[in-house]
């Protein structure tokens, strides 16, 4: 089955998939093997490569005098091998435009998901963020580290479009903030300190309300309640649930509209280990989404991040790969 709605994938299914067509359609450089609807073109590429290899062997064994033919076939095989290596051996995953075809493991085939350049945000005279410059590839996880009051939550709120940047540039999933703020909400899942749920409503009612706001089919609510292990207590008012249960529902709310970008502020706060494991496919690295993760657990955050941003009093201390010991300096 071919991925519907992605012209490059649909077109690729009907033709030989060579290096040229892959280069012209970078979407194809990000197909996920476990998503069968988009994996077809890659399987076809593999089959084509096998045919080329057979031809090379055939030429080697029987027609060694026909050098030009051999060269041509070898070139195709090498090209095919290179592509397969990219896709399979290095575990790079293909990116497709639609959220449902999103990918994982830090492969930046497209524009970065987040690009900040000299970002600044003030509260009155107080500078909350200044000079923040970082680029986060699609599918990657950025760990934001820093002591209390370093500006971590402010950064998340700016990225979510809840606060305006006062200087610098900020691009979030192709939306330039604040000018194109309207593009952001549909693409961002925000899990902050507050669950953003009404205490007098049940978990199901809260999620149904958010589903209506996001134009999401109501059936997804039941699926998510099951995914976060809250089916049994879904109809109890939120005020009667523990903070950890509210956090599970908040995680369900954050991914209700299947956003490609997650902004997570201490997402595992109040969760027991079993609940944290339960939420992993939704908000963890396994979700395949681009993530910005604020955490005080330096080792944990660095372990699941591709790059890190260190903040001290709103100023950027580091951005990129960092050793845990250097990150801990932020808290001293």
């Amino acid at each position: 089955m071919v991925a519907p709605g992605i012209p490059e994938v649909e077109a690729a299914a009907g033709e030989d998939l060579g290096a040229g067509s892959l280069e012209q359609a970078p979407h194809l450089l990000a197909v996920v093997d476990h998503e069968p609807e988009v994996a077809f073109p890659i399987r076809r590429l593999r089959a084509t490569l096998c045919q080329h290899q057979e031809l090379v062997s055939h030429v080697d064994e029987r027609h060694s005098a026909q050098a030009p033919a051999k060269l041509e076939v070898e070139q195709a095989a090498v090209e095919g091998e290179r592509l397969v290596e990219v896709v399979y051996l290095q575990h790079h995953v293909i990116y497709a435009d639609e959220a449902r075809h999103r990918t994982s493991i830090g492969f930046a085939a497209m524009d970065p998901a987040i690009e900040l350049q000299g970002l600044e945000r003030r509260y009155g005279e107080r500078v909350a963020l200044a000079g923040v410059t970082v680029s986060v590839p699609r599918g990657a996880t950025l760990a934001v580290l820093g002591a209390n009051g370093a500006g971590k939550t402010t950064l998340l709120r700016v990225l979510a479009g809840l606060l305006r940047p006062h200087a610098g540039t900020a691009r979030v999933l192709d939306a330039e903030l604040p000018r194109e703020r309207w593009k952001v909400p549909a693409q961002v899942g925000y899990l902050g300190h507050e669950p953003l749920l009404y205490r007098e409503l049940s978990g199901r009612e809260n999620l149904q309300y958010h589903a209506r706001l996001h134009g999401v089919d109501g059936s997804r609510v039941a699926d998510l309640l099951a995914a976060v292990g809250m089916e049994r207590r879904a109809d109890e008012p939120l005020r009667e649930l523990s903070r950890g249960m509210a956090q599970r529902l908040a995680a369900a709310r954050a991914v209700l509209h299947d956003p490609p970008l997650l902004l997570l502020d201490e997402p595992r706060a109040h969760l027991d280990p079993a609940a944290a494991e339960l939420l992993e496919p939704l908000i963890g690295r396994a979700s395949g989404r681009t993530r910005v993760l604020v955490s005080h657990d330096v080792d944990g955050a660095l372990a699941e991040a591709n790059l890190a941003l260190g903040l001290r009093a709103g100023r950027q201390v580091f951005a990129g790969a960092v050793e845990a010991e250097a990150a801990r300096e932020l808290y001293r």
């Binding site: 479009g161 809840l162 749920l197 409503l201 309300y209 958010h210 209506r212 706001l213």
Partner: protein, 224 residues
């Protein structure tokens, strides 16, 4: 936009049914004020201008309670952030909040107006009920439009309990004048509509202007 406004309105009505924070407080307030007037004025019954003034000033003051609580759930439970994080037009929030306040006022008046008739009014209201309902509806639309606007403006301020009535009541003076003037002839012993069309036109114009104005500026009120 209408679907989102419907979702927010349903949520607000459900919250009000569960918490019973606004409508019972507003109703109790109006009943208490009518009783206070009953004893304070030391009269068995009112009519004419005085009766119209007491009716509408009390309803406006009750509306202040509703306006102060209109964004309480959003403010206290992060609902405004949740709305800003949803891909919905902010006008839908204004429409929902305005509709919720309108329905709260109607619920209050279902109890308060008959109580006013019983406690304070000399002549009965029965003969002028259709006209009175029309005046109440137009007055409520104006109060709801301005109330939702002021509630959003005050929601993110520290002195919101102070700011809401200080902004709301002066803006509602035209509503008070038009409603009281339109109602007054029906509260006299010799009931009969005088200049009713003029006051209803004024109320309609006020409603249209403030609904349009609120729709135009509501987006900016929620900017950080």
């Amino acid at each position: 936009m209408i679907a989102a406004a419907g979702a927010i309105l349903r949520k607000d009505l459900r919250l009000e049914l569960r918490t019973k924070e606004s409508v019972p407080a507003m109703t109790l307030f109006t009943l208490t004020v009518y009783v206070l007037f009953h004893f304070g004025l030391d009269r068995d019954s009112l009519d004419g201008e005085l009766a119209a003034g007491v009716l509408w000033v009390t309803l406006l003051l009750a509306a202040v309670i509703g306006v102060s609580r209109l964004f309480a759930a959003e403010r206290e439970q992060g609902g405004i952030d949740a709305l800003l994080l949803a891909p919905v037009d902010r006008t839908s929030l204004f429409l929902a909040k305005g509709a919720a306040l309108f329905l709260f006022l109607v619920a209050v008046e279902v109890v308060a107006v008959p109580a006013f008739g019983l406690l304070l009014l000399g002549p009965g209201l029965g003969g002028a009920l259709p006209e009175l309902l029309l005046i109440l509806a137009l007055g409520d639309i104006g109060i709801a439009a301005v109330g939702a606007l002021v509630a959003a403006l005050a929601a993110e301020t520290r002195a919101r309990e102070l700011i809401a009535p200080l902004l709301l009541l002066p803006l509602l003076v035209p509503v008070l004048i038009a409603c009281a003037q339109a109602t007054e002839p029906f509260l006299r012993p010799d009931q009969g509509p005088e200049d009713l069309g003029r006051w209803l036109t004024l109320l309609t114009l006020y409603d249209v202007v403030f609904v349009l104005l609120s729709v135009a500026v509501f987006d900016y009120l929620l900017e950080d």
